[in-house]
């Protein structure tokens, strides 16, 4: 299949390894991968902060860039839910009829990585090898907006060598919430502290998730505490094989 990657501004700028892992993974599964260079940002930060009219040009831009894609796959559940759930609202409220039609035609073709693999391609075993103790944080957007279900767990369970441990209170918010972490820093910190306590309780080496924005939050806290637990995106686990297993530890160094 011809897969267009939507890497998201966040991953492009801060976590390029996640995108690289997606390329490796999808090519290994035999797909033709392309990265439309015109892509930038889905507009979620603007929309969620109340600058909703300002997100309109970004919606238009996204549609322009991906109009001809067969499928669009992204490593960010929250950006995908922006496209699927919020784009129709933005187009209806601020846009015109043609944008509305284009959004309606495009958004069903935009998928989050694990749902794409499990629900669209029907693949669970991607041939990965990751000999580490891993716990998985279900992000709020993947659980409650995209209804991602068990897709990540299905994929992770098939990874060879992995020691998957359940995270206590896995589906509770880590307190990131975009600008929430800045506007309500104190409350956000209180939520993060509880989340980190749960992660440490698992004694995992890696805390994985399907969204780097939450991982930036949890990982930033873990790093400050010098807790010795690495945040890792699901794609990076799925991409690693026996050959690069020794390198896996450096994934986020």
């Amino acid at each position: 299949m011809r897969v267009s990657l939507f890497i998201t501004c966040f991953n492009d700028t801060l976590f390029p390894n996640t995108g690289k892992a997606m390329v490796a993974l999808l090519e290994r599964l035999g797909h033709q991968v392309e990265f439309p260079m015109g892509q930038t940002c889905c507009g979620q930060m603007h929309y969620n902060s109340g600058y909703q009219r300002e997100s309109l040009p970004l919606v238009r831009h996204f549609v322009d860039v991906f109009r001809d894609a067969e499928v669009v796959v992204s490593p960010s559940a929250s950006c995908v839910s922006m496209v699927q759930e919020v784009y129709p609202r933005v187009a209806a409220e601020f846009g015109d009829e043609s944008l509305r039609r284009e959004v309606a035609a495009l958004s069903p073709r935009v998928h989050e990585l694990s749902m794409f693999l499990v629900d669209v391609l029907g693949v669970e075993d991607v041939g990965a090898y990751f000999p580490h103790r891993v716990t998985f944080h279900t992000t709020c957007h993947s659980k409650r907006m995209l209804h991602i279900g068990e897709a990540p767990q299905k994929l992770l369970r098939k990874v060879r060598g992995i020691d998957l441990v359940e995270l206590p209170r896995a589906d509770e918010c880590c307190g990131f919430g975009g600008t929430f972490a800045v506007k309500n820093a104190d409350t956000s910190i209180a939520m993060l502290s509880d989340k980190i306590r749960c992660v440490l309780d698992t004694r995992a080496e890696y805390c994985a998730s399907a969204d780097n924005s939450c991982l930036m939050h949890i990982g930033g806290g873990l790093h400050r505490q010098r807790a010795g637990v690495n945040p890792i995106h699901l794609a990076e686990i799925l991409a690693s094989t026996d050959e690069d297993a020794p390198a896996a530890k450096e994934v986020r160094s």
Binding site: G19, A24, M37, G50, C140, A181
Partner: protein
């Protein structure tokens, strides 16, 4: 509207932005412990009783649909309710705002020469500040719900819509009782003892006070029946012993027919107290035969901002709320800050969308931001109020309001957001910004992370390190890979991580 001489009302513009009020409660160890314990317990219980219901999702949908239809024809159903209540011997009053409603209640109490009223726990009367308004007229209101009584005796404000004293421990409650109630010198802190002390105090009131005031959980348009659900039975005492009964009902608490109750009386107890059925569900239709309850019944239909909410197509679903408090108990923000941080009788997620609509976003602009948008509230809401969607809608209103003033236009946040939007709209500008950012962060990056950010962003780095802009962005890597594969000197695979 003049509220001269009346103490500050519970639903008024919050005195302090949420983030500042939250900071105060976050540091309160006792509160954090009490809240965490209470919400965790009730959550677990709720999951259990909801899981038993195979048709729960259908029930939610039915609840949503009934509320939706009712609100669409609210005018028609309200008139029908007025006719029904009048037919069965009640008297209906219309109150445009809090002041109106308080005046009507005070008038009724005075017309009976009474100086005291007993009250059934009611958010609506808290919303209009009835107790304070009555006190101003020399009338004393006694709360009869145990938790509400604790709050009243402590001279505090509620922090939960169902369990107002959720933030209090047993030991704290004992101290309050010892301070304020007679014959309590030897009171222990066992729940049984505490309840007995309250009962002794309340019994005296039930038997002597001539007027009772209640809120309304549901008002049935076709029969004129009023419904109250409660857990302790004190409400039932208020509904049978006093001579006069006054019920204050928010106009959205309407259901068209008796049959509609079937849906809500299943949704409400499981969502609120995690019980299969309410311990006490009382209905009254007009006045009772002599000697069998009040012989005078007044129903006050309160607007107080509700028709304004109704007019907002996106925000009106907040009026579906049946005040079960499930969204409070599940909310990770509420769990940590407690209810007082919301500065309103309606705290938690529902408060964050209802209060700004009732008092205007310009007066409560911090509340729509008092959420990480995790969506847990939407998932549990028995009538499917899409709280995150309304929060986002109200954030949009807050920003529109800000942008309407020059100061708002020139605010740092607005300028930053406009600039970033312009940058993101063009791949060229976006790439340039990545490069500039990488240069700019140079001095801040230490050991692969940034430990301190300037200005407003400093809140982030208080306890969190920041990952800097990567030495090579994904798009730079991709460009390089394309170049390599085009010249075919290196096999494509080698560019992998």
């Amino acid at each position: 509207m003049s509220r001269e001489g009346v103490p500050p009302l519970p639903v008024s513009a919050p005195a302090m932005p949420f983030q500042d009020a939250a900071r105060l409660s976050l540091g309160d160890t006792q509160l954090r412990f009490n809240m965490g314990k209470a919400t965790t317990t009730i959550r677990a219980k709720r999951y259990k009783v909801v899981d038993e219901m195979p048709d729960w999702q259908n029930l939610r949908e039915a609840g949503r649909a009934i509320k939706d239809r009712t609100l669409r024809h609210l005018d028609k159903y309200l008139i029908q309710l007025e006719e029904s209540v009048t037919r069965v011997g009640g008297k209906v009053h219309w109150a445009a705002d809090a002041e109106d409603a308080n005046r009507i209640v005070a008038g009724i109490v005075k017309s009976h020469g009474a100086k005291e009223v007993v009250k059934i726990k009611s958010l609506t009367t808290d919303e209009i500040g009835l107790n304070e308004a009555l006190a101003h007229q020399g009338i004393k209101a006694y709360e009869t719900d145990l938790a509400e009584l604790i709050i009243q005796l402590a001279d505090e404000r509620s922090s939960h819509i169902l369990v107002p004293a959720i933030h209090k421990s047993r030991a704290e409650i004992r101290e309050i009782f010892r301070r304020t109630l007679e014959n309590t010198e030897h009171l222990g802190d066992e729940p049984k003892e505490l309840a007995a002390a309250a009962r002794a105090h309340l019994r005296r009131k039930f038997l002597t006070v001539p007027v009772a005031v209640s809120g309304v959980n549901f008002g049935v348009a076709d029969t004129g029946t009023i419904c109250i659900v409660e857990s302790e039975g004190n409400g039932r005492m208020c509904l049978t012993l006093p001579k006069v009964l006054v019920s204050v009902m928010g106009i959205e608490k309407l259901v068209p027919t008796w049959r509609d109750l079937e849906v809500f009386l299943q949704l409400l107890p499981r969502s609120s107290t995690a019980e299969r059925m309410n311990p006490y569900t009382s209905f009254w239709t007009g006045i009772a035969p002599p000697g069998d309850g009040p012989d005078e019944f007044h129903l006050i239909l309160l607007d107080d901002g509700r028709s304004k909410v109704l007019a907002d197509r996106n925000g009106r679903q907040a009026l579906h709320c049946i005040r079960c408090s499930a969204c409070l108990n599940i909310c990770p923000v509420y769990e940590r800050t407690g209810g007082h941080a919301y500065n309103s009788v309606y705290p938690g997620p529902i408060g964050a969308i209802l209060t700004p609509q009732l008092v205007g976003v310009e007066n409560a602009g911090s509340l729509p931001y008092a959420s990480s948008l995790c969506g847990a509230c939407y998932e549990v809401c028995p009538v499917k109020i899409n709280i995150p969607e309304v929060l986002l809608h109200l954030r949009g209103e807050v920003v529109r309001h800000k942008q309407a003033t020059l100061a708002g236009k020139l605010s740092g946040e607005n300028i930053a957001m406009q600039t970033v939007a312009r940058v993101f709209a063009s791949p060229r500008r976006y790439e340039a910004a990545q490069k500039a950012g990488r240069l700019g962060q140079k001095l801040m990056v230490k050991g692969g992370v940034i430990e301190r950010l300037p200005g407003q962003l400093g809140g982030w780095t208080a306890v969190r390190d920041v990952y800097p802009i990567a030495p090579q962005t994904f798009r730079e890597w991709w460009k390089q890979r394309e170049k390599v594969s085009n010249t075919k000197t290196v096999p494509r695979q080698e560019a992998r991580p």
